[in-house]
Symmetry: C2
Subunit: 332 residues, 2 copies
């Protein structure tokens, strides 16, 4: 069995290190083919692990007390905080001690550190964050979700290639459809970036490019992979989460507003819950930074134990499916 070694940032996220530890124990229990190394305050982690039931041969601790905050300049923080969990965790990937690094910490620092420490795959101009979002048809991969702003056309062309490989490895579709996020359906629409990227995607016979995708087509699953500049992708991803949460909260308030609607709410609870699971971002793990010589996964800052566990398990699939080897082959 291929044992995947995963470095885990125990300092990152809104609920660290408690939910990180919970997530690690859940992941170890669910998947035998992984080994975890937690980077954080070693004493604190040891104390929190004491009394818990787990296989100590599969969980290791490395002291890394420094924490990179969201408000810090990512590049400066990566250079200065050598004893941070992010720098030490990424180094362990670079040096081959770990296959992957997972963090719910500062997005900027994870992105900057991924490129500066782990390094890009040869030929890749810019790594990109790919996130799965739920749609009517299943899931769509949206990328870039925020690693790059003011992207050049060649970046987006590479996002499409990497996204195609990642989607087919995880979802199983052999030739996933690729759409360019745009403000009109017809060829030639959009801003300068879209006008420049469109022919690159269209002329690439390896891609199953289906043209422009408008905002209204995202939720319908208009394409398996939707390509965008990281500014637009990030706004769309966060708005999707915000809007879904808000609508569901409003529905909950509405259906519990009268005594008979409360009875109604009880009757619909089960099928509604089933449906809501599909719209739960915690099911989809984290967002890998595709294009690096190693795997770096960014989990949501507000991840709960289940979400972070799924981000850990994602690394096993990524490794088993040899996504990076496939990306390299694709680029040759």
């Amino acid at each position: 069995m291929n044992t995947v070694k995963i470095a885990v940032d125990a300092n990152g996220g809104d609920h660290a290190p408690d939910i990180i530890i919970d997530a690690c124990l859940l992941a170890l229990n669910e998947e035998q083919g992984i080994e975890l190394t937690l980077f954080g305050n070693e004493e604190e982690l040891k104390a929190k692990l004491a009394g818990q039931e787990y296989d100590s041969s599969r969980i290791h601790l490395i002291d890394a007390k420094e924490v990179i905050e969201n408000t810090e300049s990512p590049v400066l923080a990566i250079r200065r905080k050598k004893d941070s969990s992010i720098v030490k965790g990424l180094r362990s990937v670079k040096e081959g001690h770990a296959d992957a690094f997972v963090s719910a910490g500062s997005t900027g620092a994870v992105l900057a550190g991924g490129t500066l420490i782990v390094g890009r795959i040869k030929g890749i101009e810019r790594p990109a964050l790919g996130s799965f979002i739920p749609t009517t048809k299943g899931v769509t991969l949206l990328m870039d979700c925020g690693a790059n702003v003011d992207s050049k056309p060649v970046f987006l062309h590479q996002f499409a290639k990497m996204g195609s490989v990642y989607y087919s490895s995880f979802i199983g579709t052999s030739k996933p459809t690729i759409g360019l996020l745009n403000i009109g359906a017809e060829d030639g629409k959009g801003n300068q970036l879209c006008k420049d990227v469109f022919p690159l995607l269209k002329d690439d016979s390896n891609l199953n490019f289906i043209g422009n995708i408008e905002g209204r087509d995202i939720a319908e699953g208009g394409a398996d992979v939707i390509i965008a500049d990281g500014f637009v992708g990030n706004v769309v991803l966060k708005h999707t989460e915000g809007l879904a949460l808000m609508l569901l909260a409003q529905i909950k308030t509405a259906v519990t507003s009268t005594w008979y609607s409360k009875i109604g709410a009880l009757l619909i609870k089960k099928p509604l819950k089933k449906m809501l699971i599909a719209f739960d971002y915690t099911e989809y793990g984290g967002a890998p930074l595709l294009g690096l010589e190693g795997l770096v996964v960014k989990a949501h800052g507000s991840s709960d134990a289940k979400a972070f566990k799924n981000a850990i398990l994602q690394c096993k699939t990524f490794s088993d499916e040899k996504v990076n080897d496939k990306i390299k082959q694709y680029l040759m």
Copy 2:
């Protein structure tokens, strides 16, 4: 009483001219202070109006048989199709026969024609589409929703000024909060455009600028007015509609999936409906193209009679509130 004269595009939209006529009759009935002129196939309109009950002194017909399609180049179509409802309707505003023009037709043609025929307010670099979107706190004005791509910083600064005037005129808030749509909350985040616009907004003491707004804050109503380049605004607006429709459809399917959940669905119907009205884009009319020497309102292509009626009534409020005079004053 101030009677507002409104030119209506009877050729535009997915369900023209039937729902346009229905909308006009509803609007005339609901609001005494308007007079309508329909631009379309005069004979057809006459035939469809025959037998309907309405005050014929308040509805006029002008023959304009040409239709501008969504697939046409907007600028070329405006130049060539002199007998189109869009060109003739916009001309009637330019020549002072009408105070406003409402269309559910080609967005590109309405935008291009608005600028080319009606013309900009002196000092305004680029007109912008402003759309109200429902949020937890009420409504947020998002602009630009697609009139401008690759915007310059000064455009966005003007969008903020116009948006502030429009929001306070329609919603009543005297100093609406202004947010810049961005991918991080801290100052200095984002793409080059955001970095350049931020200080312009911050240094404008007439604006109630509250800083960056992230995607996840949109649905919560993070700011009364959210400013963005038209590419991003258009994607967000259309994605909001698509996602809300999709979620509601999924909920409907879920709650009618078993016999007891069907009973539950009946019990929650009333409060749920009340809540859904707030999320119904048809309540909010159309999107005005702010910054023109006259009022041009773009209604959704798939508008039903109620949505288009609201777009017509919006013109009355816009005129009564003297929004354009206020924008001009603000710019002085």
